[in-house]
Protein backbone atom coordinates (compact mmCIF):
# COMPACT_ATOMS: atom_id res chain seq x y z
CA UNK A 1 0.00 0.00 0.00
CA UNK A 2 1.48 3.32 -1.08
CA UNK A 3 0.19 6.80 -0.43
CA UNK A 4 0.92 10.15 -2.04
CA UNK A 5 -0.26 13.70 -1.42
CA UNK A 6 0.19 15.77 -4.56
CA UNK A 7 -1.02 18.81 -6.46
CA UNK A 8 -2.30 17.99 -9.96
CA UNK A 9 -2.08 20.85 -12.43
CA UNK A 10 -4.46 20.52 -15.39
CA UNK A 11 -3.79 22.46 -18.58
CA UNK A 12 -6.96 24.06 -20.05
CA UNK A 13 -7.39 21.33 -22.69
CA UNK A 14 -7.72 18.61 -20.04
CA UNK A 15 -10.22 20.28 -17.77
CA UNK A 16 -13.18 18.56 -19.42
CA UNK A 17 -11.71 15.07 -19.14
CA UNK A 18 -12.69 12.79 -16.25
CA UNK A 19 -9.14 12.06 -15.12
CA UNK A 20 -9.97 11.37 -11.49
CA UNK A 21 -12.42 8.73 -12.73
CA UNK A 22 -9.64 7.04 -14.65
CA UNK A 23 -7.37 7.02 -11.62
CA UNK A 24 -10.05 5.18 -9.70
CA UNK A 25 -11.45 2.90 -12.39
CA UNK A 26 -8.46 2.10 -14.53
CA UNK A 27 -5.69 2.21 -11.93
CA UNK A 28 -7.66 0.95 -8.96
CA UNK A 29 -6.61 3.80 -6.67
CA UNK A 30 -8.35 5.58 -3.83
CA UNK A 31 -8.52 9.30 -4.53
CA UNK A 32 -9.33 11.73 -1.75
CA UNK A 33 -9.82 15.25 -3.08
CA UNK A 34 -8.54 17.76 -0.53
CA UNK A 35 -8.93 20.87 -2.58
CA UNK A 36 -9.92 21.90 -6.08
CA UNK A 37 -9.94 25.03 -8.16
CA UNK A 38 -10.85 24.76 -11.78
CA UNK A 39 -11.41 27.91 -13.76
CA UNK A 40 -12.17 27.84 -17.49
CA UNK A 41 -9.27 28.97 -19.68
CA UNK A 42 -6.95 28.72 -16.69
CA UNK A 43 -5.05 25.86 -15.17
CA UNK A 44 -7.11 23.58 -13.00
CA UNK A 45 -5.59 22.68 -9.67
CA UNK A 46 -6.50 19.60 -7.71
CA UNK A 47 -5.03 18.70 -4.34
CA UNK A 48 -5.37 14.94 -3.87
CA UNK A 49 -4.33 12.13 -1.62
CA UNK A 50 -3.88 9.01 -3.76
CA UNK A 51 -3.43 5.58 -2.26
CA UNK A 52 -3.27 2.02 -3.57
CA UNK A 53 -0.76 -0.59 -4.67
CA UNK A 54 2.71 0.83 -5.40
CA UNK A 55 2.59 -0.68 -8.91
CA UNK A 56 -0.76 0.97 -9.66
CA UNK A 57 0.39 4.26 -8.25
CA UNK A 58 3.47 4.30 -10.47
CA UNK A 59 1.37 3.45 -13.51
CA UNK A 60 -1.06 6.24 -12.67
CA UNK A 61 1.75 8.77 -12.35
CA UNK A 62 3.08 7.68 -15.77
CA UNK A 63 -0.42 8.04 -17.19
CA UNK A 64 -0.80 11.55 -15.76
CA UNK A 65 2.59 12.56 -17.14
CA UNK A 66 1.76 11.20 -20.60
CA UNK A 67 -1.49 13.12 -20.94
CA UNK A 68 0.11 16.33 -19.66
CA UNK A 69 -1.12 16.67 -16.08
CA UNK A 70 1.52 18.30 -13.87
CA UNK A 71 2.23 16.40 -10.67
CA UNK A 72 3.88 18.34 -7.90
CA UNK A 73 4.59 17.55 -4.31
CA UNK A 74 2.37 19.50 -1.94
CA UNK A 75 5.02 20.70 0.45
CA UNK A 76 6.72 23.02 -2.01
CA UNK A 77 3.50 24.93 -2.46
CA UNK A 78 3.02 26.49 0.95
CA UNK A 79 5.23 28.89 2.84
CA UNK A 80 4.75 30.16 6.37
CA UNK A 81 6.62 33.45 6.67
CA UNK A 82 7.51 33.24 10.32
CA UNK A 83 8.88 36.80 10.32
CA UNK A 84 5.52 38.14 9.18
CA UNK A 85 3.46 36.03 11.61
CA UNK A 86 2.47 37.79 14.83
CA UNK A 87 1.08 34.59 16.38
CA UNK A 88 -2.43 35.98 16.75
CA UNK A 89 -3.91 32.49 16.08
CA UNK A 90 -6.57 33.77 13.60
CA UNK A 91 -5.63 31.01 11.13
CA UNK A 92 -5.67 28.14 13.57
CA UNK A 93 -9.41 27.59 13.93
CA UNK A 94 -9.88 27.54 10.17
CA UNK A 95 -7.07 25.09 9.35
CA UNK A 96 -8.81 21.76 8.69
CA UNK A 97 -5.82 19.51 9.39
CA UNK A 98 -4.19 21.22 12.35
CA UNK A 99 -1.11 22.09 10.30
CA UNK A 100 -1.40 25.56 11.82
CA UNK A 101 -1.78 25.04 15.53
CA UNK A 102 -1.45 26.74 18.92
CA UNK A 103 0.45 25.44 21.90
CA UNK A 104 -1.55 26.10 25.05
CA UNK A 105 -1.33 27.83 27.44
CA UNK A 106 1.67 29.63 25.86
CA UNK A 107 -0.46 30.52 22.80
CA UNK A 108 2.44 30.16 20.39
CA UNK A 109 1.65 29.38 16.76
CA UNK A 110 3.47 26.72 14.75
CA UNK A 111 3.15 25.40 11.21
CA UNK A 112 3.58 21.71 10.50
CA UNK A 113 4.36 21.37 6.82
CA UNK A 114 3.63 17.66 6.70
CA UNK A 115 0.03 18.14 7.77
CA UNK A 116 -0.75 20.95 5.28
CA UNK A 117 -3.02 20.05 2.37
CA UNK A 118 -2.72 23.46 0.68
CA UNK A 119 -6.44 24.16 0.95
CA UNK A 120 -5.57 27.89 1.06
CA UNK A 121 -8.20 28.72 3.68
CA UNK A 122 -5.56 30.40 5.84
CA UNK A 123 -4.47 32.83 3.11
CA UNK A 124 -7.35 35.35 3.29
CA UNK A 125 -7.61 34.87 7.05
CA UNK A 126 -4.10 36.12 7.81
CA UNK A 127 -3.98 39.94 8.01
CA UNK A 128 -0.18 39.94 7.82
CA UNK A 129 0.25 37.90 4.60
CA UNK A 130 2.21 35.31 6.51
CA UNK A 131 0.80 32.38 4.53
CA UNK A 132 1.82 32.22 0.92
CA UNK A 133 0.81 29.67 -1.70
CA UNK A 134 3.08 29.64 -4.69
CA UNK A 135 1.03 28.33 -7.60
CA UNK A 136 3.28 26.87 -10.24
Amino acid sequence: MAQLKVVLQFPPNLIEQPITYQLIKKHDLMVNILGARITPKEQGRLVVEISGKKKNLDAALRFLKEIGVGVEPLARDVTWHEDRCIECTACTSICPTGALSVSRPEMRVTFNHGKCIACELCVPVCPYKAMEIVSK
Binding site: T89, C91, S93, V102, M107, V125, P127, Y128
Partner: protein
Protein backbone atom coordinates in the same frame (compact mmCIF):
# COMPACT_ATOMS: atom_id res chain seq x y z
CA UNK B 1 1.11 49.62 53.39
CA UNK B 2 0.48 52.09 50.61
CA UNK B 3 3.33 53.12 48.29
CA UNK B 4 3.77 56.17 46.11
CA UNK B 5 5.01 56.38 42.54
CA UNK B 6 8.04 58.38 43.79
CA UNK B 7 8.93 55.58 46.18
CA UNK B 8 8.68 53.02 43.39
CA UNK B 9 10.83 55.19 41.11
CA UNK B 10 13.43 55.45 43.86
CA UNK B 11 13.55 51.65 44.03
CA UNK B 12 13.89 51.48 40.23
CA UNK B 13 16.79 53.95 40.47
CA UNK B 14 18.52 51.76 43.06
CA UNK B 15 17.85 48.63 41.02
CA UNK B 16 15.65 47.25 43.80
CA UNK B 17 12.21 47.36 42.20
CA UNK B 18 10.25 44.10 42.22
CA UNK B 19 8.52 43.70 38.87
CA UNK B 20 6.34 40.90 37.46
CA UNK B 21 4.37 40.64 34.27
CA UNK B 22 0.59 40.37 34.63
CA UNK B 23 0.70 36.62 34.02
CA UNK B 24 3.44 35.83 36.56
CA UNK B 25 1.89 37.98 39.22
CA UNK B 26 -1.18 35.71 39.42
CA UNK B 27 0.94 32.98 41.03
CA UNK B 28 2.80 35.47 43.21
CA UNK B 29 -0.42 36.77 44.75
CA UNK B 30 -1.77 33.25 45.12
CA UNK B 31 1.30 31.98 46.98
CA UNK B 32 2.13 35.03 49.11
CA UNK B 33 -1.35 36.32 49.74
CA UNK B 34 -2.64 39.75 48.84
CA UNK B 35 -1.22 41.65 51.81
CA UNK B 36 2.35 40.35 51.54
CA UNK B 37 2.36 40.57 47.75
CA UNK B 38 1.19 44.19 47.86
CA UNK B 39 4.13 45.19 50.05
CA UNK B 40 6.69 43.22 48.05
CA UNK B 41 5.63 43.82 44.44
CA UNK B 42 6.23 47.31 43.03
CA UNK B 43 5.13 47.13 39.42
CA UNK B 44 3.03 44.79 37.27
CA UNK B 45 3.66 45.07 33.54
CA UNK B 46 0.87 44.47 31.04
CA UNK B 47 0.84 44.15 27.25
CA UNK B 48 -1.33 43.89 24.19
CA UNK B 49 -0.65 43.51 20.47
CA UNK B 50 -3.64 43.62 18.14
CA UNK B 51 -5.16 45.52 15.22
CA UNK B 52 -6.28 48.94 16.45
CA UNK B 53 -7.97 50.85 13.63
CA UNK B 54 -8.17 54.28 15.25
CA UNK B 55 -4.43 54.84 14.88
CA UNK B 56 -2.44 57.22 12.76
CA UNK B 57 0.56 59.49 12.58
CA UNK B 58 1.39 63.08 11.81
CA UNK B 59 4.50 64.37 10.13
CA UNK B 60 6.28 67.60 9.41
CA UNK B 61 8.09 66.83 6.17
CA UNK B 62 10.22 70.02 6.01
CA UNK B 63 9.96 72.97 3.63
CA UNK B 64 10.87 72.73 -0.04
CA UNK B 65 12.68 75.39 -2.08
CA UNK B 66 10.76 77.16 -3.53
CA UNK B 67 8.14 76.65 -0.85
CA UNK B 68 4.97 74.61 -1.28
CA UNK B 69 1.79 74.83 0.80
CA UNK B 70 0.52 71.29 1.24
CA UNK B 71 -2.24 72.66 3.47
CA UNK B 72 -5.47 72.51 1.47
CA UNK B 73 -3.74 70.55 -1.27
CA UNK B 74 -3.70 66.85 -2.14
CA UNK B 75 -0.89 64.65 -0.84
CA UNK B 76 -0.19 60.92 -0.95
CA UNK B 77 2.44 58.72 0.71
CA UNK B 78 3.03 55.60 -1.41
CA UNK B 79 -0.29 56.40 -3.07
CA UNK B 80 -2.21 56.63 0.22
CA UNK B 81 -3.90 60.03 0.70
CA UNK B 82 -3.10 61.96 3.87
CA UNK B 83 -5.04 64.77 5.53
CA UNK B 84 -3.61 68.17 4.62
CA UNK B 85 -5.88 70.52 6.54
CA UNK B 86 -3.03 71.93 8.64
CA UNK B 87 -0.15 74.34 8.02
CA UNK B 88 2.19 74.26 5.01
CA UNK B 89 4.11 71.01 5.55
CA UNK B 90 2.21 69.20 8.32
CA UNK B 91 0.32 66.11 7.23
CA UNK B 92 -1.77 63.51 9.06
CA UNK B 93 -1.97 59.89 7.99
CA UNK B 94 -4.70 57.52 9.18
CA UNK B 95 -4.08 53.79 9.51
CA UNK B 96 -7.18 52.78 7.54
CA UNK B 97 -6.64 55.13 4.55
CA UNK B 98 -6.43 53.24 1.25
CA UNK B 99 -4.50 53.87 -1.95
CA UNK B 100 -6.59 55.93 -4.36
CA UNK B 101 -6.62 53.20 -7.01
CA UNK B 102 -7.39 50.31 -4.63
CA UNK B 103 -10.50 48.39 -5.77
CA UNK B 104 -11.62 48.23 -2.10
CA UNK B 105 -14.62 45.89 -1.94
CA UNK B 106 -15.62 46.36 -5.59
CA UNK B 107 -14.08 42.95 -6.13
CA UNK B 108 -15.49 41.25 -3.07
CA UNK B 109 -13.93 40.34 -0.76
CA UNK B 110 -11.29 43.04 -1.20
CA UNK B 111 -7.72 42.21 -0.26
CA UNK B 112 -6.80 45.65 1.10
CA UNK B 113 -3.15 44.95 0.48
CA UNK B 114 -1.71 48.40 1.24
CA UNK B 115 -2.99 51.30 3.29
CA UNK B 116 -1.99 53.92 5.83
CA UNK B 117 -0.92 51.33 8.39
CA UNK B 118 1.51 49.83 5.86
CA UNK B 119 2.97 53.29 5.19
CA UNK B 120 3.59 53.64 8.93
CA UNK B 121 5.19 50.18 9.03
CA UNK B 122 7.37 51.01 6.01
CA UNK B 123 8.50 54.32 7.53
CA UNK B 124 9.33 52.74 10.88
CA UNK B 125 11.25 50.04 8.98
CA UNK B 126 13.46 52.83 7.57
CA UNK B 127 12.16 52.37 4.01
CA UNK B 128 11.80 55.11 1.45
CA UNK B 129 8.23 56.24 0.85
CA UNK B 130 7.09 58.24 -2.18
CA UNK B 131 5.53 61.61 -1.37
CA UNK B 132 3.45 63.13 -4.16
CA UNK B 133 1.76 66.51 -3.70
CA UNK B 134 -0.41 68.91 -5.62
CA UNK B 135 -0.91 72.40 -4.21
CA UNK B 136 -2.77 75.49 -5.38
CA UNK B 137 0.14 77.92 -5.03
CA UNK B 138 0.24 81.27 -3.26
CA UNK B 139 2.47 84.34 -3.35
CA UNK B 140 4.51 83.04 -0.43
CA UNK B 141 4.21 79.34 -1.37
CA UNK B 142 4.43 79.42 -5.18
CA UNK B 143 5.21 75.75 -5.85
CA UNK B 144 2.35 73.55 -7.09
CA UNK B 145 3.88 70.10 -7.63
CA UNK B 146 6.13 67.87 -5.59
CA UNK B 147 7.31 64.31 -6.06
CA UNK B 148 10.07 62.94 -3.84
CA UNK B 149 11.30 59.99 -1.84
CA UNK B 150 11.22 60.54 1.88
CA UNK B 151 12.10 58.43 4.89
CA UNK B 152 11.47 58.70 8.59
CA UNK B 153 14.85 60.25 9.42
CA UNK B 154 14.19 63.03 6.86
CA UNK B 155 11.09 64.23 8.70
CA UNK B 156 11.29 66.97 11.32
CA UNK B 157 8.61 65.39 13.47
CA UNK B 158 6.99 61.99 13.08
CA UNK B 159 4.49 61.16 15.79
CA UNK B 160 2.20 58.20 16.25
CA UNK B 161 -1.12 59.63 17.45
CA UNK B 162 -3.81 57.08 18.19
CA UNK B 163 -7.34 58.12 19.06
CA UNK B 164 -8.53 54.80 20.46
CA UNK B 165 -6.29 51.89 21.47
CA UNK B 166 -6.10 49.12 24.04
CA UNK B 167 -9.84 48.44 24.29
CA UNK B 168 -10.77 47.16 27.71
CA UNK B 169 -12.39 43.89 26.66
CA UNK B 170 -14.21 43.24 23.37
CA UNK B 171 -16.90 41.19 21.64
CA UNK B 172 -16.52 37.60 20.53
CA UNK B 173 -17.54 37.51 16.86
CA UNK B 174 -19.64 34.75 15.26
CA UNK B 175 -21.71 34.45 12.10
CA UNK B 176 -25.25 33.06 12.25
CA UNK B 177 -25.93 33.48 8.53
CA UNK B 178 -25.51 30.80 5.88
CA UNK B 179 -22.64 32.49 4.04
CA UNK B 180 -19.07 33.53 4.88
CA UNK B 181 -18.74 37.10 6.13
CA UNK B 182 -15.64 39.28 6.25
CA UNK B 183 -15.41 41.54 9.28
CA UNK B 184 -12.91 43.36 11.44
CA UNK B 185 -13.21 40.29 13.64
CA UNK B 186 -11.75 38.29 10.76
CA UNK B 187 -13.36 35.84 8.36
CA UNK B 188 -16.40 34.35 10.08
CA UNK B 189 -17.66 31.02 8.84
CA UNK B 190 -21.41 30.43 8.35
CA UNK B 191 -23.69 28.89 10.97
CA UNK B 192 -21.28 29.63 13.79
CA UNK B 193 -18.48 27.39 12.56
CA UNK B 194 -15.89 29.62 14.23
CA UNK B 195 -15.65 32.40 16.79
CA UNK B 196 -13.01 35.11 17.05
CA UNK B 197 -12.00 37.30 19.97
CA UNK B 198 -9.59 40.18 20.41
CA UNK B 199 -8.07 40.82 23.81
CA UNK B 200 -4.95 39.82 25.69
CA UNK B 201 -7.23 38.96 28.62
CA UNK B 202 -5.26 38.69 31.86
CA UNK B 203 -2.29 40.51 30.25
CA UNK B 204 -4.36 43.36 28.84
CA UNK B 205 -3.60 46.82 30.30
CA UNK B 206 -7.08 48.06 31.21
CA UNK B 207 -8.24 44.69 32.52
CA UNK B 208 -5.48 44.91 35.14
CA UNK B 209 -6.67 48.31 36.34
CA UNK B 210 -10.39 48.09 35.63
CA UNK B 211 -11.31 51.46 37.19
CA UNK B 212 -8.28 53.32 35.73
CA UNK B 213 -6.90 54.13 39.18
CA UNK B 214 -3.23 54.29 38.19
CA UNK B 215 -3.24 55.75 34.70
CA UNK B 216 -4.22 58.93 32.97
CA UNK B 217 -2.81 61.77 30.94
CA UNK B 218 0.96 61.58 31.08
CA UNK B 219 1.35 57.89 31.93
CA UNK B 220 4.56 56.65 30.31
CA UNK B 221 4.05 53.39 28.39
CA UNK B 222 5.61 50.96 25.94
CA UNK B 223 4.30 52.02 22.52
CA UNK B 224 5.27 50.43 19.23
CA UNK B 225 8.57 49.19 20.65
CA UNK B 226 9.53 52.60 22.06
CA UNK B 227 8.31 55.01 24.68
CA UNK B 228 4.89 56.60 24.43
CA UNK B 229 2.44 58.43 26.63
CA UNK B 230 -1.23 58.12 27.46
CA UNK B 231 -3.14 61.25 26.45
CA UNK B 232 -6.32 60.23 28.24
CA UNK B 233 -9.34 58.09 27.59
CA UNK B 234 -9.71 57.22 23.92
CA UNK B 235 -12.71 57.82 21.70
CA UNK B 236 -15.79 55.75 22.65
CA UNK B 237 -14.38 55.45 26.20
CA UNK B 238 -17.38 53.88 27.88
CA UNK B 239 -16.71 53.01 31.53
CA UNK B 240 -20.34 52.60 32.63
CA UNK B 241 -21.07 49.21 31.04
CA UNK B 242 -22.19 46.25 33.20
CA UNK B 243 -19.34 44.80 35.25
CA UNK B 244 -18.61 41.57 37.11
CA UNK B 245 -18.29 41.40 40.89
CA UNK B 246 -14.57 41.93 40.43
CA UNK B 247 -15.28 45.20 38.61
CA UNK B 248 -14.35 43.85 35.19
CA UNK B 249 -16.45 45.15 32.30
CA UNK B 250 -18.39 42.34 30.63
CA UNK B 251 -17.91 43.95 27.20
CA UNK B 252 -15.92 46.68 25.47
CA UNK B 253 -15.57 49.60 27.90
CA UNK B 254 -12.58 51.86 28.51
CA UNK B 255 -10.11 52.92 25.80
CA UNK B 256 -6.85 54.86 25.66
CA UNK B 257 -5.61 57.64 23.45
CA UNK B 258 -1.81 57.50 23.10
CA UNK B 259 1.09 59.22 21.37
CA UNK B 260 4.78 58.58 20.83
CA UNK B 261 7.72 59.52 18.59
CA UNK B 262 7.82 57.17 15.60
CA UNK B 263 11.57 57.55 15.19
CA UNK B 264 12.28 55.43 18.27
CA UNK B 265 9.73 52.73 17.44
CA UNK B 266 10.24 49.31 15.90
CA UNK B 267 8.29 47.61 13.07
CA UNK B 268 8.02 44.43 15.14
CA UNK B 269 5.46 46.33 17.19
CA UNK B 270 3.72 48.39 14.46
CA UNK B 271 2.40 46.19 11.70
CA UNK B 272 0.08 46.91 8.81
CA UNK B 273 -2.86 44.48 8.84
CA UNK B 274 -5.00 43.62 5.78
CA UNK B 275 -8.39 42.39 6.92
CA UNK B 276 -9.89 40.61 3.91
CA UNK B 277 -13.18 42.19 2.85
CA UNK B 278 -12.93 44.81 5.59
CA UNK B 279 -9.95 47.11 5.27
CA UNK B 280 -6.55 48.01 6.64
CA UNK B 281 -5.69 48.34 10.30
CA UNK B 282 -2.54 48.86 12.34
CA UNK B 283 -1.42 46.22 14.82
CA UNK B 284 -0.07 48.26 17.73
CA UNK B 285 2.02 46.99 20.60
CA UNK B 286 1.19 48.66 23.90
CA UNK B 287 2.46 47.91 27.38
CA UNK B 288 1.32 49.75 30.48
CA UNK B 289 3.10 49.52 33.83
CA UNK B 290 0.75 49.32 36.79
CA UNK B 291 2.29 50.64 40.01
CA UNK B 292 1.18 48.49 42.95
CA UNK B 293 0.23 51.35 45.22
CA UNK B 294 -1.97 49.33 47.57
CA UNK B 295 -3.70 46.00 48.14
CA UNK B 296 -6.65 46.92 45.96
CA UNK B 297 -4.43 47.45 42.91
CA UNK B 298 -2.56 44.23 43.72
CA UNK B 299 -5.91 42.45 43.75
CA UNK B 300 -6.89 43.88 40.37
CA UNK B 301 -3.57 42.91 38.73
CA UNK B 302 -4.01 39.31 39.89
CA UNK B 303 -6.93 38.97 37.46
CA UNK B 304 -7.01 35.67 35.53
CA UNK B 305 -8.53 34.70 32.19
CA UNK B 306 -11.20 32.78 34.10
CA UNK B 307 -12.37 36.03 35.77
CA UNK B 308 -12.85 37.95 32.51
CA UNK B 309 -15.97 37.43 30.43
CA UNK B 310 -16.99 38.66 26.98
CA UNK B 311 -20.22 38.70 24.99
CA UNK B 312 -20.75 36.56 21.89
CA UNK B 313 -22.15 38.75 19.11
CA UNK B 314 -23.51 37.80 15.69
CA UNK B 315 -21.75 39.88 13.05
CA UNK B 316 -24.08 38.92 10.20
CA UNK B 317 -27.27 40.53 11.55
CA UNK B 318 -27.06 41.84 15.11
CA UNK B 319 -23.86 43.87 14.86
CA UNK B 320 -24.52 45.63 11.53
CA UNK B 321 -28.05 46.52 12.59
CA UNK B 322 -27.20 47.54 16.16
CA UNK B 323 -29.45 44.85 17.64
CA UNK B 324 -28.59 44.79 21.34
CA UNK B 325 -28.02 41.60 23.28
CA UNK B 326 -25.65 38.71 23.28
CA UNK B 327 -25.75 35.06 22.23
CA UNK B 328 -23.97 34.15 25.42
CA UNK B 329 -21.21 35.04 27.82
CA UNK B 330 -17.87 33.20 27.79
CA UNK B 331 -14.65 33.59 29.76
CA UNK B 332 -11.21 34.15 28.27
CA UNK B 333 -10.12 30.87 29.85
CA UNK B 334 -12.75 29.17 27.69
CA UNK B 335 -11.87 31.25 24.62
CA UNK B 336 -8.18 30.39 24.99
CA UNK B 337 -8.93 26.67 25.35
CA UNK B 338 -9.68 26.64 21.61
CA UNK B 339 -13.40 25.96 21.84
CA UNK B 340 -16.46 27.55 23.44
CA UNK B 341 -20.00 26.32 23.87
CA UNK B 342 -22.65 28.68 22.49
CA UNK B 343 -26.29 27.66 22.66
CA UNK B 344 -25.30 24.02 23.00
CA UNK B 345 -22.88 24.08 20.08
CA UNK B 346 -19.11 23.65 20.34
CA UNK B 347 -17.46 26.41 18.34
CA UNK B 348 -13.70 26.58 17.64
CA UNK B 349 -12.10 29.88 18.68
CA UNK B 350 -9.24 31.97 17.39
CA UNK B 351 -7.81 35.30 18.48
CA UNK B 352 -6.91 38.40 16.52
CA UNK B 353 -4.89 39.72 19.44
CA UNK B 354 -1.54 38.00 19.93
CA UNK B 355 -1.25 36.70 23.47
CA UNK B 356 2.31 35.49 22.79
CA UNK B 357 3.36 38.99 21.70
CA UNK B 358 1.44 40.62 24.57
CA UNK B 359 3.55 38.59 26.98
CA UNK B 360 6.69 39.59 25.10
CA UNK B 361 5.75 43.27 25.48
CA UNK B 362 5.06 42.87 29.21
CA UNK B 363 8.48 41.18 29.55
CA UNK B 364 10.30 43.93 27.61
CA UNK B 365 8.68 46.58 29.79
CA UNK B 366 9.60 44.57 32.87
CA UNK B 367 13.23 44.39 31.69
CA UNK B 368 13.34 48.17 31.07
CA UNK B 369 12.10 48.83 34.60
CA UNK B 370 14.41 46.28 36.23
CA UNK B 371 17.38 47.69 34.28
CA UNK B 372 16.49 51.18 35.48
CA UNK B 373 15.87 52.70 32.06
CA UNK B 374 12.09 53.19 32.43
CA UNK B 375 10.50 55.22 35.21
CA UNK B 376 6.85 55.52 36.13
CA UNK B 377 4.98 58.80 35.87
CA UNK B 378 2.24 60.33 37.95
CA UNK B 379 -0.71 61.08 35.66
CA UNK B 380 -1.69 64.74 35.56
CA UNK B 381 -5.35 64.06 34.81
CA UNK B 382 -7.29 60.84 35.52
CA UNK B 383 -9.30 58.91 32.97
CA UNK B 384 -13.06 59.16 33.65
CA UNK B 385 -14.22 56.08 35.54
CA UNK B 386 -17.65 54.66 36.36
CA UNK B 387 -18.70 57.59 38.58
CA UNK B 388 -18.27 60.04 35.68
CA UNK B 389 -21.44 58.51 34.21
CA UNK B 390 -20.18 58.72 30.63
CA UNK B 391 -22.22 56.94 27.99
CA UNK B 392 -21.06 56.24 24.47
CA UNK B 393 -23.90 57.52 22.28
CA UNK B 394 -25.12 56.41 18.88
CA UNK B 395 -25.59 59.08 16.23
CA UNK B 396 -29.02 60.66 16.38
CA UNK B 397 -29.77 61.21 12.70
CA UNK B 398 -31.95 64.21 11.93
CA UNK B 399 -33.50 64.39 8.49
CA UNK B 400 -32.08 67.07 6.22
CA UNK B 401 -34.81 68.81 4.21
CA UNK B 402 -34.75 71.83 1.95
CA UNK B 403 -35.35 74.91 4.01
CA UNK B 404 -33.70 77.70 5.96
CA UNK B 405 -30.89 75.52 7.38
CA UNK B 406 -30.18 73.76 10.66
CA UNK B 407 -32.12 74.83 13.72
CA UNK B 408 -30.08 76.60 16.39
Amino acid sequence: MAKTIEEINEKIRRGKAVVFNAEEVIKVVKSKGLKKAATEVDVVTTGTFAPMCSSGAYFNVGHTNPRIKLGGGFVTLNGVPVYTGYAAVDILLGATAMQVEDPLNRIYPGKFLYGGAHVIEDLVSGRDVKLVARAYGTDCYPRKQLETWIRLEDMNEAVLLNLRNAYQNYNVGVNLSDHVIHTYMGVLQPRMRNATYCSAGQLSPLLNDPFYRTLGMGTRIFLGGGIGYVLGGGTQHNPSVPRTERGLPRMGAGTLSVRGELKQMNPRWLRGASMTGYGVSLAVGIGVPIPVLDEEIMHYTAVTDADIVAQVVDYSEAYPNCVPGSLGEVSYAELKSGSIKIQGKNVPTASLSSYARAREIADILKRWIVEGSFFLTQPVEPIPSVEAGLRCKALNERPVVNGPGPSR
